[in-house]
Each structure stands twice: as structure tokens, then as C-alpha cells.
């Protein structure tokens, strides 16, 4: 009788690891007895690079961390710098930011649903969610000219005004998506294979989840009713009406239910933001700190001078440090920015939700089958660009 255990490298080049995650598994037969995730294959030193860039030149780099939720990353960074400067974005920019970050949440959750379903055998889902994602990427393209790395938010507002065809595109999403979500539910929720692969898999208790620092949909699936959009509202979230979906089971199926319900709540927020979109400026009027609008820069002398100074020299925020967190689609996304009074951040730290969530992987999978590891990695919803930065 052979009693040796076997070590298996899952990844880094494996499609079910959602990028370049490597998991070293020690197996007894098909049962996992030890699991060590190894990260870092996509480390690009964003925190170091940010120390040598003017404040607003950091924004494009934040897109590239969680590339499925670029607007959330932009928002967290812009809010942190705005807090440092004492600048507040005008109402229209705040509403647009809420609307677009909720579209980002839909985008991120849709890709999660497609890839997670693909991993555990429901291949057609990927095609359906990418069909829907196309509508969202069209909106990205309309506002920023880019389909993925949008870089649309600026310190003090937005890069440009919302385009004229923005509203019909958002209305189309609001109209079609509820039907699509019902389609997904028809395919998955009562599907026997789906239920067998997800119910009771990857369970982590509420106490363990808190101890492991898990945030976001995973924490809500473990029964903690907490959402930073409600607990510490930013960018006018307190003016929107939405629910925080929770589940008690804390397995892969509960996470699926939470994310699906979150997408429905996102649609509610988008509806409210679109209906109540205020008129006015999309950039705060703070000369010397916030860029002027394009028209101003072209037709007003002072605005052009400020524009020139901002682009060449930058601005000097007061000395100090801020820690701003937002609820990104993956969880609690934090930006810790230290300013020494110079034009570049002295230190920019990103608190990545995926990084902390994936560190709890071994708690989900030890004692379960190898095939469940795939379901667990999928249900955590990681983006390696953000884990490794």
C-alpha cells in the first residue's frame, strides 16, 4: 500500500487560476492536505513607480491593478488625493462616479460569473456574460475612449463631460439586464451540477473570515452585513437607496447568490443615478489644483496658465497622510497616501482586497478534493494584477 503524499503545482500557467497564481498542493490521493498559494508573478512595482510620478499621473497606473474594475481603482485613488487636498468633486461628477463604478461592479461580477462557471463546467455562461459585458464596455468607450483602461476620473471630478449618447446606452443596460440575470438564474441556480459543485464547498465560518481579513462579497456571504458604501458613504452614496445582500451558508453557492443580488442592486443604483443626474460642472473649480476644463484652457488666459503649471510642475498638497477605503467589487480597496509636501506622493500604498482574500485559500480547501480547489479559487474572485501590483 502506498502512503506517500503527492505534491502538485497548480499553475502558474493554468486557466482556472485566473491569471498567474501558483498553488502548491499536497495531496493524499485526491484530498488536499496542504495548500500554499504563491503569488508575485505579475509584480510590476506600482507602489514604487507612483513615488516618482506627479499625483495625477498615478491615475492611469491604478487602472492596471484590477483591470476588470478600473473605475473603482480610479475612484479610490482620486478620493484619497481629494481628501489630502480638501477638494470635493461637484455633484454631477459624484453622481457620474457612482453610476460608473456601479457599471464597473457589473462588469467585474459578470466576468467573475462567466469564468467561475467555465471553471466548473458550465461553458456557455462565458459567452452569455461577454455578450452583456459588451454593452458595458461600449459605455466605457463612449465616456473615455477606452474599453478597459478607462482612466476617466480626475482629481476633483471627471476627465470630460458625459457624452450625449450616454443616457440611451445606460437605459439599454437597465432595460436588458434584469432579463439577462433571470436567464443566468434559469441556467445555474437550480442546475444540479452547479449546485453539487458549489453547495457546501469552500465553507469558512464568520469568525474565521473576519480573522482572515476577508472583505467584500465573500464576507457578506459569511453573514456579516457590512458594506463600506453604507458604513462609510463616499461620493454621495448616502443619497442612494439599495440593500446589502447577505447569506449565511458561506459556501461557493452563497457567494454566487450574493454577487448576483449585488448586480441587481447595482442596477437600482444606476437607475437612481441616471434619473437624478444633476446639471453643472464635471470638475471642481479649484485653480492650481484641479485641471481646468478643455474649453476654459483654450479660451481663458488664466486657465491656460494653470493648466500649464499643473501639467509641468504639479501641485503641492499639505504634509500628512490619509487612508481612504472604498467598496470595490472584490472587497475593501484602500489607498494610503503619504505626502511630504512635494509634487509626488512620498508613499502610495494600495490595500488590495484580492491579495488578502486569496491568502485565506488554504482554509477553504484543506480536507476537500482537488476539483474543489478550482471552485474555491473561482469563488474568491481574484485578479492577479491587483494581488501582485
Amino acid at each position: 500500500m502506498q502512503t506517500e503524499t503527492m505534491t502538485v503545482n497548480l499553475g502558474p500557467q493554468h486557466p482556472a487560476t485566473h491569471g498567474v497564481l501558483r498553488v502548491v498542493l499536497e495531496l493524499d490521493g485526491e484530498v488536499v492536505i496542504k495548500c500554499t498559494p504563491e503569488v508575485g508573478y505579475l509584480h510590476t512595482g506600482i507602489e514604487k513607480t507612483a513615488e516618482a510620478k506627479l499625483y495625477y499621473k498615478v491615475i492611469p497606473m491604478t487602472d492596471r491593478m484590477d483591470y476588470l474594475a478600473p473605475m473603482s481603482n480610479n475612484l479610490g485613488y482620486c478620493l484619497a488625493v481629494e481628501k489630502l487636498l480638501g477638494v470635493e468633486a461637484p455633484p454631477k461628477a459624484q453622481w457620474a462616479r457612482v453610476l460608473l463604478t456601479e457599471i464597473t461592479r457589473l462588469n467585474s461580477h459578470l466576468v467573475w460569473l462567466g469564468t467561475h462557471a467555465l471553471d466548473i463546467g458550465a461553458m456557455s455562461m462565458l459567452l452569455y456574460v461577454f455578450r452583456e459585458r459588451e454593452d458595458l464596455l461600449t459605455i466605457y468607450e463612449a465616456v473615455s475612449g477606452q474599453r478597459m483602461m478607462s482612466t476617466y476620473f480626475r482629481i476633483g471630478g471627471l476627465a470630460d463631460d458625459l457624452p450625449d449618447d450616454f443616457e440611451p446606452m445606460v437605459r439599454k443596460v437597465l432595460k436588458t439586464f434584469p432579463v439577462r440575470f433571470q436567464e443566468y438564474e434559469n441556467i445555474l441556480t437550480n442546475n444540479r451540477i452547479w449546485r453539487n459543485r458549489t453547495i457546501g464547498v469552500g465553507v469558512i465560518s464568520k469568525e474565521e473570515a473576519i480573522k482572515s481579513g476577508i472583505t467584500g462579497p465573500m464576507l457578506r456571504a459569511a453573514g456579516v452585513k457590512h458594506d463600506l458604501r453604507k458604513a462609510r458613504p463616499y461620493s454621495s452614496y448616502e443619497k442612494f437607496d439599495f440593500e446589502i445582500p447577505t447569506q449565511q451558508a458561506s459556501d461557493c453557492f452563497a457567494r454566487y447568490q450574493v454577487r448576483l443580488e449585488e448586480m441587481r442592486q447595482s442596477l437600482r443604483i444606476i437607475q437612481q443615478a441616471m434619473d437624478g443626474m444633476p446639471e453643472g460642472r464635471y470638475l471642481a473649480r479649484v485653480p492650481g489644483v484641479v485641471l481646468p476644463t478643455k474649453e476654459e484652457a483654450l479660451f481663458q488666459m488664466e486657465a491656460m496658465i494653470y493648466h500649464f503649471k499643473l501639467v509641468t510642475e504639479g501641485f503641492h498638497p499639505p504634509k500628512g497622510e490619509v487612508y481612504v477605503t472604498i467598496e470595490s467589487p472584490k472587497g475593501e480597496l484602500g489607498y494610503y497616501i503619504v505626502s511630504d509636501g512635494g509634487t509626488m506622493p512620498y508613499r502610495m500604498r494600495v490595500r488590495p482586497p484580492s491579495f488578502v482574500n486569496i491568502s485565506a485559500l488554504s482554509k477553504l480547501v484543506v480536507g476537500r478534493l482537488l476539483a474543489d480547489v478550482i471552485a474555491c479559487i473561482g469563488s474568491i474572485d481574484i485578479v492577479l494584477g491587483e494581488v501582485d501590483r
Partner: protein, 166 residues
């Protein structure tokens, strides 16, 4: 809200607190490194505070100071919905007590600080590099580490002196 935290921490650990600041509406304590474990455990278990979530551990490098590193902890309370920040000042080659006994999150976060700053944590069960590869030399987030330093990593240039690209 911040006042509750401030009062309870000062009442309990007054002699270990080196400085208290409140800027941008964020409460921060600079504490003696010997107290950090007891202090965070107190905040986590205290019934009126319940800072149960260790949000982040990171560091900053101030090379001109005598104690060049600041290790920074952010704790969050789901009940108070408030963050609190703790700072521990350490010199080069000095270590900090680990929080892995209190929070499992601390494991990877401390490994990251060790990797990028070279600050070691006493009692950490698995202190090795996390983002960079094991053979990497230096700690990139230190201020004296050049931004565009090309570390040799291929067979054709591994014996050449490192090159700084301008």
C-alpha cells in the same frame, strides 16, 4: 466616535503611547513597539470598540531619521465604522513583534513588508519573500533603492555589474 477610541486607548496604554495625532479626521497613535501586540489585542477584544478587522499593515521609509522605518497598522471596527492607525518606529535591522497570533491576515501583509522593506517580524511562522523571487537582492520600496535598477536575472548578464538605467 474617534473620541471613544482615543479615551479608551489612552486610559489603558497611556504610558506606551508616544504621540497621538488627529489629522484629516483620522486618528493615529505612535506607540512603543513592545506594546503593539497587547494594544491591538485590547482593541479587538474590547466590547465597546471591537476593532476586529485588521485592514492593512504597511511601512514607510524615512532614511534621514534615526529610526528610519514606520510600520503602520490600520484597524477597522465594524460596529463603530471607524479606522484607527498605529505607527511603530524602528531602526534598520530592528524587528517588530508579529501580529500573526491575533490575525491570520497579518501573515501575508507582514511578509509583504518584509519583502519590500526588509523589516523582519519576530515570531512570524513563515517569513519569506512574497512578491519578489527568493534570490532577489535588496528591498525595492526603500528610498535608497533606485527606481530604474536593472537586477541581473538572466544567464547572459548574471556576472556583469548591475546597471542603472537613466
Amino acid at each position: 466616535m474617534n473620541n471613544v477610541t482615543r479615551e479608551r486607548v489612552t486610559a489603558q496604554f497611556g504610558d506606551k503611547i508616544l504621540a497621538t495625532t488627529e489629522s484629516f479626521g483620522e486618528l493615529a497613535f505612535a506607540v512603543d513597539k513592545s506594546a503593539i501586540v497587547a494594544l491591538t489585542r485590547f482593541l479587538r477584544d474590547d466590547i465597546a470598540l471591537k476593532y476586529v478587522h485588521l485592514s492593512d499593515i504597511t511601512a514607510t521609509d524615512w532614511p534621514e531619521r534615526e529610526q528610519r522605518f514606520e510600520v503602520i497598522y490600520h484597524l477597522y471596527s465594524y460596529d463603530l465604522t471607524e479606522y484607527v492607525r498605529f505607527k511603530v518606529h524602528v531602526a534598520d535591522k530592528e524587528s517588530v513583534p508579529t501580529l500573526t497570533g491575533e490575525w491570520d491576515t497579518a501573515n501575508w501583509l507582514e511578509r509583504e513588508v518584509f519583502d519590500l522593506f526588509g523589516i523582519s517580524f519576530d515570531g512570524h511562522p513563515d517569513l519569506r519573500r512574497i512578491l519578489l523571487w527568493d534570490e532577489f537582492e535588496g528591498h525595492p520600496l526603500r528610498k535608497d533603492y533606485p527606481l530604474t535598477y536593472e537586477t541581473p536575472q538572466f544567464t547572459y548578464n548574471k556576472d556583469l555589474p548591475p546597471e542603472v538605467i537613466k
